[in-house]
Symmetry: C2
Subunit: 157 residues, 2 copies
DNA sequence: TGACAATAGATGCATCTGCATATAATTCTG
DNA sequence: CAGAATTATATGCAGATGCATCTATTGTCA
């Protein structure tokens, strides 16, 4: 989480073009993002709510047509691996927040539907989640900063 | 990893002050940082090298006085939890990259020393690590962007 | 001094992840 | 149409993490 040591001697040999700002940006990015996430996750847990990943998945379902998506779509949408997605869906289904339905036309395929309980959960999570984002991001950034951050991060994506 | 849905109806009720840029910045941050990290980790693994965390820990040791630190210092330095740090040190010691020495004056305390093999590993990892950072960060950002990113991330820290 | 608090670190357990592979269903091909 | 290739999803296993707790050692204070 700290990376970017005071540039060691060998750096000059191998990476003349790696300027300190780049290393610094890398180090900060990898320090700040997980720290913020952990803070927000802790606030959700504190409120007796599941992790942000559950929210992300359920919210993606909510705004999909029919409030349903194929596992593969969820995977691409949340940028998860296939096996992580499969098991995330397992947990959502086990808790009753989503339903798996096998596509009768192609029985390899499934459609994951948001359940009523899932909609309720989203509604319960969002206020807590949003408050945490506001507290830990919104309050610390000027509006221009937030825009600039988005612009720069999009270059990195 | 996607977060920040198209703002659901209930948002207005609970979080009037949470502007879309803030939510967008949060979402991008949590999308981009892990993706970049995974990419860089993959390049290290590809080169037969251990994860960035090992580099971070060993590099921290390298520039500490005597090339040694207490576990608690490493923990604070890398922003890890106590148990994560303990087991990270286990692995480094098991591979011979570091040594645990019990402090004779207070046998609860240890000092973790960088070994010669550890120094070698740092030197082997840095070129690969730096090249990956340059490729995935340096090349994508204008110099001003990198500075701006640092400045904004520091506000969030 | 002797019991209790505090500190540094380790560890058992449950959970989560990735990797590789397995399973099941469908499509392609000769 | 049989057999191979492809696609969608699941799963066994190993490794890493957090949480809570445990052990060992030292400090405190009556």
């Amino acid at each position: 989480m700290e990376t970017a040591p005071r540039i060691p001697a060998e750096e000059a040999d191998h990476d003349i073009s790696l300027c300190p700002f780049v290393v610094g940006a890398w180090a900060r990015l990898l320090q700040v993002a997980p720290t913020l996430l952990a803070t927000v996750e802790a606030e959700l847990k504190q409120a007796g709510l599941p992790p942000t990943q559950w929210y992300d998945a359920l919210a993606a379902l909510e705004r999909a047509p029919q409030e349903a998506m194929a596992p593969g779509e969820i995977e691409r949408h949340l940028l998860l691996t296939q096996c992580t997605t499969s098991r995330l869906i397992d947990r959502l289904v086990a808790e009753g927040y989503a339903l798996r339905v096998v596509n009768p036309d192609d029985r390899r395929r499934q459609i994951v539907h948001l359940s009523a309980a899932g909609k309720t959960l989203i509604a319960r999570m969002w206020p807590v989640y949003a408050a945490a984002i506001r507290r830990h991001v919104g309050r610390k950034l000027a509006p221009d900063d937030a825009q600039a951050l988005i612009r720069i991060l999009e270059k990195l994506a």
